[in-house]
Symmetry: C2
Subunit: 136 residues, 2 copies
């Protein structure tokens, strides 16, 4: 596998509205989508900078993974997502290398991408996502 | 300001050698430089993925900012750096918007870039760097 680019950077925030205002008013980016992902108990806002999306994540419930992350570490970068080809094969290859997978096979993520997460204990502390865009 | 792309992602790691092995052997990236930055008390390793560099940061001393970060939050993404033009003017503009700057004027960073950090209390918890490449 050679990742093609950083597909997105997931950032845990305490207040989505305030964070959107910062990314728009200070950094000059444009929020192009706001979406609630009910099964993950998050509300998300998307920005694009070069090849990479910034995905802000606000918990919608105290038992959301994002609420737990902020309680432990404070707001900040929650995960990195790499764009790859042939995701299903890549997962088998890296599992054979001893990497602990959260998703052993791809599942559907935002924007129709196929996604899978690697466990941070296998990735030096960075929750890591691999994404394939089969629509391209 | 509209950032052009994510210039790099700084990742605090506990062990540079082990982390380089993960990025090379699992993700398939190539480490193209290892550099010690004595005044920051860090040893760094660089990879490129698309437009963006990954900069791994290992503390070389217990009073390194990276050692303090890991003691507080564990290993993970330490900062995000955006590529911008006209950095000096941008800093004045965003300071006027109430953003707390760590560097009020640009200073020299790795690879000859002009850089400045914004304080995470003004950026929703993400230590944020702006970079200008005047050599381009």
């Amino acid at each position: 596998m050679i990742p093609k680019f950083i597909e997105h950077i997931g950032i845990a925030v305490e207040n989505l509205e305030e964070s959107i205002a910062y990314y728009e008013n200070v950094l000059g980016l444009s929020c192009y989508a706001i979406e609630e992902v009910k099964d993950q108990k998050v509300k998300t806002a998307f920005f694009k900078v070069g090849q990479t999306k910034i995905e802000l994540l606000e918990a919608t419930s105290d038992d959301s993974p994002i609420a737990k992350y902020i309680a432990k570490k404070g707001p900040g970068v929650h995960h990195l997502a790499f764009a790859v080809d042939h995701l299903e094969e890549q997962l088998k290859t890296i599992e054979n290398k001893g990497v602990d997978l959260i998703d052993k096979t791809p599942r559907k993520g935002a924007e129709g991408l196929d996604i899978a997460f690697l466990h941070p204990k296998s990735t030096n502390g960075v929750l890591t996502e691999l994404c394939e865009n089969k629509q391209q």
